[in-house]
Amino acid sequence: MIKTLSRFVGKYKSTSIWTILLTAAEVVLDIFLPICMARIIDEGISQGNLSAVYKYGIIMAVLSILAFITGVASGRLASKASTGFVANLREGMFKKVQSFSFKNIDNFSTAGLVTRLTTDASNMQMAYQMLIRMCVRSPLNLIFALIMCILISPKLSLVFVVAIIFLGFSLFFIILFAMKSFKKVFGEYDTLNASIQENIRGIRVVKSFVREDYEISKFQKAIDRLYGLFCKAETITCINNPIMLLTVYGCILALSWFGAHEVVAGGISTGQLTSLLTYVMNILISLMMLSMAFVMLTLSSASAERICQVFDEDPDIKDPENPIYDVKDGSIDFENVSFAYKKDAAEYVLKDIDLHIKSGETIGIIGSTGSSKSTLVNLIPRLYDVSTGTVKVSGKDVRLYDVESLRNAVSMVLQNNVLFSGTILENLRWGDPDASLEECMKACRLACADEFIEQMPEKYDTRIERGGSNVSGGQKQRLCIARALLKKPKVLILDDSTSAVDTATEAKIQKAFSEYIPDTTKIIIAQRISSVKNADRILVLDEGRIDGFGTHDELMQTNEIYRAVVEGQQNGVGDFDRMEV
């Protein structure tokens, strides 16, 4: 884990090292201050020697100015190093995700990836800064202060050793128990939030069934539980404070007693005893900080682990060694293809698919949910690799092509398609960055998107909000089709991409396809028979197998599933509300 992450320190390595060195310098300078104070007392005040007071005063002032400079410098460098490190990390993660195949993406949820790139990355920034500052400062402070104490009086230093061991153990156990309890608290907290979420989302159900009071009593129980767990967890951390106090007080009293003996016996001076008393706070606060850093680092180790999962994921689709860049035509062949999403899956989701599509053909695909329609077409642009058999485009195995060339030739409109924030034109140019306005307009005409775009106040410069939230479902689908057309593909795949477009418009789009892009192979997945009825051939899929393949009329004669679907939908009766206004 550390090895993976440390790669991203990159050019901030020297900055990080300087931070550590400067922090160390600051600590050393800090440590000498109490010594000087002791000298002021012993050599200055006790002996009525004002010049000694001035001398050590000036030394102290210089020391603290130096400490100030090193402190500020180390702070600024720490900020540079930690923000730089996390920027590298974020960029590295983002690049890694870009190299992911669909299969890799499926292994993570979208929300999971977002959390890793945002919250987890920010956590790493905090952790890194802590690592190069607090985790240097506290132990050094502890060690130096202890060394100083030993130099002053090895005998009295025993008091510190005992205190450190006592406090160290106490803190360790407190942290251990507290973390366990807090884990429970956060679990309960998540449950509570989940139930609030459920309530808000289902508020219509709650109100319809007049279950407000019922929900409130449910909620009351949940917050009572949370209260109990929280109090328990925090009670443990409450022990922290008195233990710290008792240790400090214990040290002061022990030093007073044994120190008095030492002073009287002439072992140490009163000034030295004062320095020892000053070091009490110094040492114990360092220990406290160290334990805090320990807790924080433990908490962020969860983030680090999640981030590493991204880097450990192996992109499973790679370009071949000598790739083919040219896709000649749009013919597609499936030869004995079987496919499963997971290697160890018990059953293939596609079984023994043998399918040959000529370039320029229009193919409809129909089948119930779970019949693997989408899976089948995903294999063509090599979004997934087959488990057995081969998929060929233009007569060559898709695995022999350069992935980018293949995907540019095989244009696909996904089922859950998205538009990106930016103007309509910018979105269209995803298909072809160099497309002229005329070309974009032509594509929109083919996809029947021109009408509504023209009606918008800023036409092609209209801004699309994130996720395309300011256009209707049907408009979004048509824009996505136009975008895909701009690639001038050899194969165009529409995965249920006209479901929100009314049947008349859909027919218009299909007509435009056959007139203007006759050489492009068109594959149309649909729920409605009317969407596929006029295709050259229609493929009927059932539970991952080909159940029928032929024209509408042929299938009506021979295919039972197809006939049932047609009868169920009775000549294109659609969903009444899917019509665009």
Partner: protein, 630 residues
Amino acid sequence: MAGPGKGRRGASPKDVYKSLTSGSMVRIIKLVLKHYWIHLIFVLIGIILAAIASVKGTLFTQTLIDSYIIPLIGKDNPDYSPLLSAISKVAVIYIIGAASAFAYNLIMVRVGQGSLRIIRKQLFEKMEKLPIKYFDTHPFGDVMSIYTNDTDTLREFIGRSFPEIVNLLATLISTLISMFVLSVPLTVISLILVSFVVLITVKVSSLSGRYFGEQQKQLGVVNGYIEEMMSGQKVIKVFTHEQQTINDMQQHNEDLRKVSNNAHGIANILMPATAQLGNLNYVIVAVIGAIFAINGRFGMTIGTLVSFMTLNKGFNRPFAMMSMQLNSIVMAAAGAERVYSLMDEEPEVDNGIVVLKAVEEDENGNLKISNRFTGQWGWILPDRIVKLEGDIVFDDVDFGYRPDHQILYNIYMFANKGQKIAFVGSTGAGKTTITNLINRFYDIQDGKIRYDGININNIKKASLRNSLGIVLQDTHLFTGTITDNIRYGWLGASDEDCIKAAKLANAHGFISRMPDGYNTFITGDGSNLSQGQRQLIAIARAAVSNPPVLILDEATSSIDTRTEQLVQKGMDSLMKGRTTFVIAHRLSTVQNADCIMVLEKGHIIERGSHEELLEQKGRYYQLYTGNAVS
């Protein structure tokens, strides 16, 4: 959450003052005081005791050197017994101090968590009373964030910062008092020097506060970009757009790095600056103190100076620590603002007086209220009892979600007991809106809706809604077993009732095939079930309450055909014998309706049975044949 990642941010004293005196914050503080004033008195006593102990302890070091060590130096047989008794006395004080620190921390935990529990409860109770309009006009994320982010800021404030600030103030005041006791002139000098520390703290805090604001903004940009790209990752792959996205990301990321570096760079100055200024302060006071001691001015002794120096060191620290806590006040004020914005929302008003009660017939055939479950229900009007039948009339109803934007115009329609009314029309025609009016999720602007002859505005909302069954297009289930979810329709239902309802809804088959059957636990809105299965449970849930009137919003056909058939059958048997309003998507539903209402732009443009409407060759005919002209 308590994890790292919450950036240290600065807050200027002005912000803090504004936050503390803001209306919402005052209300939060009042709420805490009202419920926990006794607790807080004990906390105050604890804090004072702890502070006294800590001051006593520091003062002890003065007497230690002056009274117990120096007199013993040079003696042959030093007598340590006065020292021993002094140490034991101080030890007792220390123990009292530590114990009271422990006690007030414990109480404070309860105050903090208890206050949060009260706030959460008030918040939730209030939310449950809000009209549907609130939920329709406030994005889900915003409402949710009140419970998570905003209550978290309050938790941070009440649970952590508040006690910390009180603690720091107590330390500060007690330190100041003991400093005055030790030496007035040195204290004055210290105070002058400390004011520099305060000044620097304030300056750095407000400066870093500004930079952190910029950082937050840029962080928002980067996070937004990441979110958008991650959810469009598959599209990026399909369009081989990886490199362009990486380039954009690098740009945003570099911008963030720069502002973030500035923000943290400034914030990191704070600690060394205050610490070293503190040290300088220490040196200056030490030198001046030494001069006093050597010249014997102001009664200064070594012991006094030493204890004073210890206090002086402790006097600097609280300011920097305080500045870290102040930010949480500003954040809590913003959180409190949003919490109260929900709490101050107008609740759903209900002026209805007519209630629904179980009734039975007496000897003369008149209805009377019954104390037991009779299966018969009646509307209790002031002067009579009307039997619940399920007769609904819309009389010239107008409606708009906003006064200036009308959605429905002059809706007339009636449904007699047991009749089915189907609504068809394009998206946005107002179908869902009509169903929102019957259960009074929204109130109509003009006209009347009558239920069994009673104006629904006169019916108590709870009674009205209890008499309506509803199955929505998006099915929402709740965490719990399948039985729990079905019972949601009628809390008094026995297990047998639930099974009977499931059988009616056609859900019994798939439920019994599940390994845990009816005890299958549903989580996350039923994510472990298919959409069709969720719908079947929702149908059973409506069935168990056995309502005379149903509102159904059929799902569009993207579920697989087999479950679809089950759902359809379930819906059909649920509708049997009940007055039904259905937003129809399925042909069979439309065909079997007694009356079809074709809606367009808020008007009923056609009405009649399937055959009648087909003959008209109007809008319905177009929708039906798919040959839409417009």
